[in-house]
Each structure stands twice: as structure tokens, then as C-alpha cells.
Amino acid sequence: MHALFQKIAALPWDQLPQWLFLIPGLLMLLAAFAAVCLRNLIHSALCVVLSFICLGVLFMALGAEFVGFVQLLVYVGAVAMLILFAILLTPASEVQASNNPLSNFRLSSALHAAAGAAVSFLVLAGLLAAIAFSPRAANAELPAQPAAAPVALIGENLLTYTLLPLLGIAVLLTAALVGAALIAKEDSKS
């Protein structure tokens, strides 16, 4: 008993904080998996939101607080709401009685899912293999200066090195706003 206690105490506890990112990371994967598997669309969407939240927390844990909070603000505050609204605005959006005879055929449906699962599994396997065998990933060390991205530096970067992309993003967002409103607008004749 005492030996166990000693063993536990001897663990590198001071390294604990830098492994805490595993909690949001694994929770994120769990939520994403649930989102893929759940049949109820709203549940799926809520799981995705949880996954997004965990991703944001993961970003914060990795030292990118700004990106983390932006992730929360954009995904939880905006994208999630858009998705939920879209689900509510497309009633019966769960694929049930489709006009396509092919999709009503269970075997075809199953084949379709199986093919998708196989492809994504292949991709996962390929990526994992690449990560595992990449010497650069294995030998990567944390830099001596812990990575930090202060807001002031980000702001300065936005207005100097990435000014052009910033302007591009501004145009893109405006165009997306207008375009989305235009596309989703009801036709006057209907």
C-alpha cells in the first residue's frame, strides 16, 4: 500500500498540466463519434457543438487562447446556431421516404455506408501510419520558449503580414453574407 503510494507520488506530477489536453481531446473524439452515429439530427448537432467546444478548449490548452475563444465564439455562437436553424427549417430532413428507389433499397444503402466507412478507415489508417512513421513528428520537441500568441501580436500580424488575406477574408465574408441571404431568400413566385 505504502509502496503504491510512493510509486504514485514518484510519478512526474509536475508534467501533469501539459498532458491535460488529453481530456478535451478525447472528449472531442467521443462527441464527434457520437455525432456521426446518432440518428437524431438534433442530437448529432448538439454532439458536434460539444466537439467544437472541446476543440476550442484544446486550442486553449495548447496555448492559443485567442484561437480557442474565436473557435467558441464562431462555432458555438454562430455555426452551431446556423446548423440548428437549418435543421429546423428543413423538416423531415432525416432521410426516410426518398423518391429515389435506389436509396430505399436497404442493401444499396448498407453498401453505400460500408464503402464510406471503408474509405474513411483507409484514410485514418494512412494518416496514422504517416504520423507513426514520420521521424519529424516523433522527434518534435517543445521549444524552450513556451508557445504563446498574445492578442497584440496577432493584431499586428493581421495588419502587416496578412493584411491582404485579411482584406480578402473581409470581402469573402461580405460576399458570403449577401450570397447566403440571397440564396436562402424565398422566391417571389412561390
Partner: protein, 426 residues
């Protein structure tokens, strides 16, 4: 040295802290950490840093929770009393002196009520909704500086974090509305979300105005930027500048709307859609929603105080003997009670009017304040702007002109009653 001697020693030190009220809370935390370290030494172990951090964080959390729950309780009774006074009634006056213990009675009542869950409801989501609602609301106050050097989490992106967590409320409202499986609930939720999204934009933009001038997203930095006086005795609060005043009014309106208070309480408008997304909630879950709403309101008011009303700074030099955290809470109460005042005074908006107000007036106006603040900053060459007539006149001109223009265009009655559209109410 034994444990009791240590305890006595620290108790004496603690009592000694009351000589300086200003630093009392900060010193308390320091003393706690010291005590823990000494305690560890007594037991023969060196306290690891993370353990100290965890314990002091827990203590902080408890302190803030207690503070805001007490604020919530006091607010609920004060609001009822004030409403009653406005309506020529007495209000709660039976429980305790002047009815001050009414919240306790209410809490007991709520706890003992039956917790009803509709059969058609999505049980899990229905259960989770109050939690998702209250968690971010309780997290919000940690970013606020209650006094000089008194901030639980001093983030350099504090304001962003505040709004990012605040976004969780919409999710909770949606969950509550959808899970209840009741058309009034879902309609109320849709209304609430539409309203929140619409009013979040002016809210965030007017906060951005302050960040622009203060040059930081950290609430502490912003509060610090408003310390000091100009002309020797006038407060250097941002609300005293033309752009700051405009942004403050916009922020106040946004805060009213975000906390679903009158005249923006359409999502819960009893006469229209029963109680909106709260229709199917009862008992303690309902109380949690209620609490989250009030705590959220206090948090947003705290942000308003930090951003515009000088945070914890005293208004005049001769009042500086009052501790800074007292000033923060005085201002917080002032803003909160002004919201009660507004509630007693104004009728509820119609939904189309409300949306028009947000999109056609508040949003452009908040962009204009951004412009005015930029004009202030550049005409006055940064921090020197307080004494620059050019800065004052430029920003005042921009704000006034655009207010007149927008006001003229937005509030002329072009579409009178003939062309009403009630969004989410048909």
C-alpha cells in the same frame, strides 16, 4: 509549532488585514496560500504549485459563486419590492425584516416542487438545458476585475472570452425549447435566439469600440485605462466621451436584450407565448434558468461597468478612500437597479419593431461609434485625446450627425400597422 498555534497566528494576521480594506480580498488569498504552505511544512511535505493553485482556484470559485448568488437573491427581492413600489403596492414583506429572506423561502419552495418532464420531451436534452444555461453564466464573472488587482482569471483576451462563453446561452435556450416538444417552447426559443443574435452584434461592436481606444482586450487593462482624471477632478471614464456615451447606451440596450429583460422580454412574453422556452420547466430547473438569467445580467452589467463606467475607479479624487471593489459593486447595483427602473417604465416591444430596431438602428449606430472612436483616437493623438478639442468635436459631430440621420430614417412610420410581420409567431 503545532497546528493550533499556526491557526492562531494566521487568524491574527487575518484580523490585521482589516486595517486596509482596499487590499483585503487580495491579501486574504495570499494568506490562504501561505497558510497552506505552512501546513504542508507542518506535515513534512512541500506543497506542489499545482495543488496550491487548485485550492486557491476552488476558493475563488466558491467566493465568486457565493457573491453572485447573494447578488441574485438580493436582486430578486429588491426587484419585486421596487416593482411593487412603482405599482403602488408593498411587495414582499412577510419573510424576515422587510421581506429580505423571501429568496430563501422561494428557494425552498422551488426545491420542493415536483419536477415535471413532459412525456413527449427529449429527456436528455431537457435535462441538460438548464445546466448548459447556468454553466457559462456562472463562468462569466471570473473575467471581471472587481477591484484593483482583483480578477479571478486575468486573460489578455478577457472580453472575447466573455462573449464566447456568453454564446452558450443561445444553445441552452435552443435545447430547452426543442427538447420540450411544445410549439410555444420552440417558438419562444426561436424568438429568443433571433433576438440574441440580433442584439449580440451591437453589443460586441460597442465593446469593441472601447477595446479600440484602450488598445487591449483585457478587462483589467480597460479598467486601468479609465483610471485618473482630466481637468484634475473629472472622471476619465469612457462614458464621458461622445463615442463612449453612444457606445454605452448601445451596450446597455444590448445588455437589456441579452438578459431578456423588459422591454425585450418577448421570448418569455406570458401574454403571447406563455413563458417561451421555459414553459415546460418547473421546480428547481426553472429556478436554475431564473438564476442563470440573473447572474448573466449581473455579469453583463459588470462588463458594462468595466467598459464604460470606469470599472473599479472612484468617480472623484476625494472619494478614493472608498475601496475600489466597493465602487465596482456600487456601480453594478446602480446599473442593475436602473434596469428595474426601465422594466417598470417601458412596455414590451413588438417583435418586428424589435428586429428593425436592432438591425436598422443599433447595428449601424454601433459601427458609427467605432468610427467616432477612431476619429477620437486619431484626432487626439491617442491617450492625449482627453484634452484635445479636435477629438471631442470630431467624435461628437460624427455621433450626433449619424444619430440624427439614422433616427430620421429608422423611426419615420413608413410601414404602419398594415404591413406587420410577426416572425416566429404565425
Amino acid at each position: 509549532m503545532n497546528f493550533f498555534a499556526l491557526l492562531k497566528d494566521f487568524l491574527l494576521q487575518f484580523l490585521g488585514l482589516f486595517k486596509n480594506l482596499e487590499t483585503l480580498p487580495v491579501e486574504c488569498m495570499r494568506l490562504l496560500r501561505e497558510f497552506l504552505t505552512k501546513l504542508g511544512e507542518l506535515c513534512g511535505i512541500t506543497m506542489p504549485q499545482w495543488a496550491l493553485d487548485t485550492v486557491s482556484a476552488l476558493v475563488l470559485i466558491v467566493a465568486i459563486l457565493v457573491t453572485f448568488l447573494v447578488l441574485f437573491a438580493l436582486m430578486s427581492v429588491f426587484e419585486r419590492k421596487l416593482l411593487a413600489r412603482a405599482q403602488n403596492r408593498y411587495g414582499p414583506n412577510r419573510v424576515g425584516p422587510f421581506g429580505l429572506f423571501q429568496p430563501v423561502a422561494d428557494g425552498i419552495k422551488m426545491l420542493t416542487k415536483e419536477d415535471l418532464v413532459p412525456r413527449a420531451a427529449d429527456k436528455v436534452v431537457h435535462y441538460l438545458a438548464p445546466i448548459v444555461m447556468v454553466a457559462p453564466a456562472l463562468m462569466l464573472p471570473v473575467f471581471l476585475p472587481f477591484g484593483r488587482g482583483m480578477v479571478a482569471v486575468d486573460l489578455s483576451v478577457g472580453i472575447l472570452a466573455f462573449f464566447a462563453l456568453g454564446a452558450g446561452t443561445e444553445l441552452a435556450v435552443f435545447m430547452a425549447g426543442w427538447a420540450s416538444n411544445n410549439k410555444y417552447s420552440i417558438l419562444g426559443a426561436m424568438r429568443a435566439i433571433a433576438q440574441m443574435i440580433s442584439y449580440e452584434l451591437p453589443l460586441v461592436t460597442s465593446a469593441l469600440v472601447v477595446a479600440l481606444v484602450a488598445g487591449t482586450l483585457s478587462p483589467t487593462g480597460i479598467a486601468e485605462a479609465q483610471s485618473g482624471y482630466f481637468c484634475g477632478f473629472l472622471p476619465k471614464w469612457f462614458v464621458c466621451t461622445p463615442w463612449g456615451f453612444a457606445a454605452c447606451v448601445l451596450f446597455y440596450i444590448g445588455a437589456l436584450s441579452e438578459s431578456n429583460r423588459c422591454p425585450f422580454d418577448l421570448p418569455e412574453g406570458e401574454s403571447e407565448i406563455i413563458a417561451g422556452h421555459l414553459t415546460e420547466y418547473s421546480g428547481f430547473k426553472y429556478a436554475i434558468f431564473f438564476m442563470a438569467e440573473y447572474v448573466g445580467m449581473f455579469a453583463v452589467n459588470g462588463l458594462l461597468v468595466t467598459l464604460f463606467l470606469g470599472g473599479y475607479n472612484a468617480p472623484f479624487p476625494f472619494l478614493e478612500w472608498v475601496p475600489t471593489w466597493c465602487w465596482f459593486f456600487i456601480k453594478l447595483w446602480a446599473v442593475a437597479l436602473s434596469m428595474v427602473w426601465v422594466r417598470t417604465t417601458l412596455p414590451r416591444f413588438r417583435i418586428d419593431q424589435m428586429m428593425q430596431f436592432a438591425w436598422k438602428f443599433l447595428l449601424p449606430m454601433s459601427f458609427v461609434t467605432l468610427l467616432a472612436a477612431a476619429a477620437w483616437y486619431y484626432a487626439g493623438q491617442g491617450p492625449k485625446a482627453w484634452m484635445s478639442p479636435a477629438a471631442w468635436s470630431a467624435s461628437a459631430l460624427i455621433v450626433l450627425l449619424s444619430y440624427l440621420l439614422l433616427g430620421t430614417f429608422c423611426f419615420t412610420r413608413r410601414h404602419s400597422a398594415t404591413n406587420r410581420r410577426y416572425l416566429f409567431s404565425e
